[in-house]
C-alpha cells in the first residue's frame, strides 16, 4: 500500500469479545474479521482523510508498530473488503459507491 493512500473503513457492526473485536460488515461482499485492539485502533483512524503514514504516526505513539506492519494489516483487511482506498482526502461519509 502506498504511504499516501487514504483508507476508508466500510460500514461494520462491531462486537467486543474479550480483548478482541469482531467486525461484521453490513455488505455481503466483505468478510467477518476478528482483530485485536491495535487493529481496531488502526481501523478507527480509517476515515478517508488520513493517509497510511499519518495513521501509522498516530498508532505508533507508545508502541513499536511500523508503517510496514500497518500497511500489511490494511492490505489484509482491504482484501477482506473492510476498507476502500483513495489517494484523495475525502471523508468516508462523502464518498459514493
Amino acid at each position: 500500500m502506498r504511504p499516501d493512500a487514504r483508507p476508508c473503513q466500510t460500514p461494520v457492526t462491531t462486537s467486543p469479545a474479550g480483548t478482541q473485536w469482531v467486525l461484521i460488515p453490513d455488505s455481503d461482499e466483505a468478510a467477518v474479521v476478528v482483530v485485536n485492539d491495535t487493529g481496531y485502533r488502526v481501523l478507527a483512524q480509517c476515515d478517508g482523510t488520513r493517509s497510511l503514514r499519518e495513521i501509522t504516526e498516530t498508532i505508533a505513539v507508545g508502541t513499536n508498530i511500523t508503517e510496514n506492519e500497518v500497511s500489511t494489516f490494511l492490505d489484509h483487511v482491504h482484501r477482506c473488503g473492510l476498507v476502500t482506498l483513495t489517494e484523495h482526502s475525502t471523508p468516508c461519509s462523502q464518498r459514493s459507491g
Binding site: S15, P16, A17, G18, Q20, V22, I24, V32
Partner: protein, 332 residues
C-alpha cells in the same frame, strides 16, 4: 460470544427446599454475597453483559441486597431481572405492594418459578395474584416451569400464562444439585439421544454466594476445579476480566454455537468412551459436564480447537447479531 445476563446469586437460603433444586437451596442453607462484593462484580461486569439477574435461594429473603442490585443495574443502564418463588404473594394487597416496589426500583423482568415442587408453598391463587399484580406494572413477566408436563401444576401455569398473555418456559429436571436423586440413572449411556443443539445458557454466567463465577446458570456449580465452565475471578473486581477470557474460549464458543454434542467429534475414541460412561442422563447439560469435567477431554479440545479459535469467536458474534436483528424485526 457475548454474555447475556450475569446472575447474582445473593443467597443460598430459601424458604423452600424443592427436591429438584439445582442450587441445593433450603431454609438451612447458608451463604450470602455481601454488598461491597456485589457492587464490585456488577460494575466490573457491566461492559460484558446486557443485564443483571438477581437469583438465589430466594432473593426477597435478602430484600436490601436485592433492591440495591436492581437500582444499581438501572443506574448502569443495564436490563434488570429477578427469579423468585413468589412466596410473598399470599394476599392481593401484599402482591400489589411488592410488585409496585420492584417496579419503582427499576426491575424490567420478573420470573416466577412454579411447578409441582413449588406449588407446595405457592398456591395457584398466589400465582394468579402475583401475575395479576404484575400485569398492572411495566414489568415483563414470565413463569418458569420445571418437570413433566402431565401434572396439575403445569396446567395451572399454562392457564395463567395464557390468560395474562405472558411467557411460560419449561425445562426438565436435571440430575444436578438435589435433582440428582430425582432423575433415574440411564439404562444405557446413549450419547446419540442427547439433543444436538446450541446451548442457550452458556452465555448466562452466575456469581455464587461463595464468590465462585461460572459461565452458565445451569448445573456448573460443582464443576471440576479446572473446568472451562469455571471463570477465574478471585474477587468482584476481577469478574469483568474473567468474563472477557470466557468470551474468546474456543470450548465455550463451540458450546454456544453448536452445543456440547459437537465437542464429542473432536475427542479421541478412548476419551469419548470415558465421557459417555460418565453421562448422568441424556440432557445436554449432562453431556456438557461429562466433557468439561474430564481434564483429558478439555486438553484434547484445547489442542484441536486452537487453530479455529477466531472462527468460533466470529461465528458467535454473527449468530448474536442475527438474533438481535430477528428480535428487533419481531418487535416492530
Amino acid at each position: 460470544m457475548r454474555y447475556n445476563t450475569l446472575g447474582i446469586q445473593v443467597t443460598n437460603t430459601c424458604n423452600m427446599a424443592c427436591p429438584h433444586c439445582i442450587t441445593d437451596s433450603s431454609p438451612s442453607a447458608r451463604g450470602d454475597l455481601d454488598w461491597d462484593e456485589i457492587e464490585r462484580a456488577i460494575r466490573s461486569a457491566a461492559s460484558h453483559v446486557d443485564g443483571i439477574c438477581v437469583t438465589g435461594g430466594e432473593p426477597l429473603l435478602k430484600r436490601e441486597l436485592t433492591f440495591g442490585i436492581i437500582r444499581l443495574t438501572r443506574e448502569l443502564g443495564l436490563r434488570s431481572s429477578m427469579v423468585t418463588n413468589g412466596y410473598w404473594s399470599r394476599t392481593r394487597q401484599t402482591a400489589e405492594r411488592i410488585m409496585g416496589e420492584l417496579d419503582a426500583a427499576g426491575l424490567d423482568k420478573l420470573a416466577v418459578s412454579y411447578d409441582q415442587f413449588h406449588d407446595r408453598l405457592v398456591s395457584p391463587v398466589s400465582l394468579e395474584q402475583l401475575v395479576q399484580a404484575g400485569a398492572a406494572t411495566s414489568m415483563e413477566l414470565q413463569i418458569q416451569y420445571c418437570g413433566a408436563r402431565q401434572d396439575t401444576a403445569y396446567h395451572t401455569a399454562r392457564d395463567v400464562a395464557d390468560r395474562y398473555d405472558i411467557e411460560l418456559t419449561t425445562a426438565e429436571v436435571l440430575p444436578f444439585g438435589r435433582g440428582r436423586d430425582l432423575v433415574a440413572a440411564p439404562v444405557t449411556n446413549d450419547v446419540d439421544a442427547v439433543p444436538n443443539e446450541p446451548c442457550g445458557v452458556v452465555t448466562r454466567p452466575v456469581l455464587t454466594p461463595e464468590g465462585e463465577l461460572f459461565t452458565c446458570c445451569g448445573p456448573a456449580r460443582d464443576a471440576d476445579s479446572t473446568s472451562p465452565l469455571r471463570l477465574p475471578a478471585a474477587s468482584g473486581t476481577e469478574v469483568g476480566d474473567a468474563l472477557g477470557s470466557g468470551e474468546t474460549s474456543s470450548i465455550l464458543n463451540v458450546i454456544h454455537n453448536h452445543g456440547p454434542r459437537s465437542l464429542l467429534d473432536q475427542l479421541s475414541e478412548e476419551t469419548r468412551a470415558r465421557v459417555t460412561e460418565n453421562l448422568r442422563d441424556t440432557s445436554m447439560c449432562s453431556l456438557c459436564r461429562a466433557i468439561t469435567d474430564d481434564r483429558e477431554a478439555v486438553a484434547e479440545l484445547n489442542a484441536s480447537l486452537a487453530s479455529e479459535q477466531y472462527r468460533h469467536v466470529a461465528l458467535a458474534a454473527v449468530l448474536r447479531q442475527t438474533q438481535d436483528t430477528l428480535t428487533t424485526d419481531t418487535e416492530r
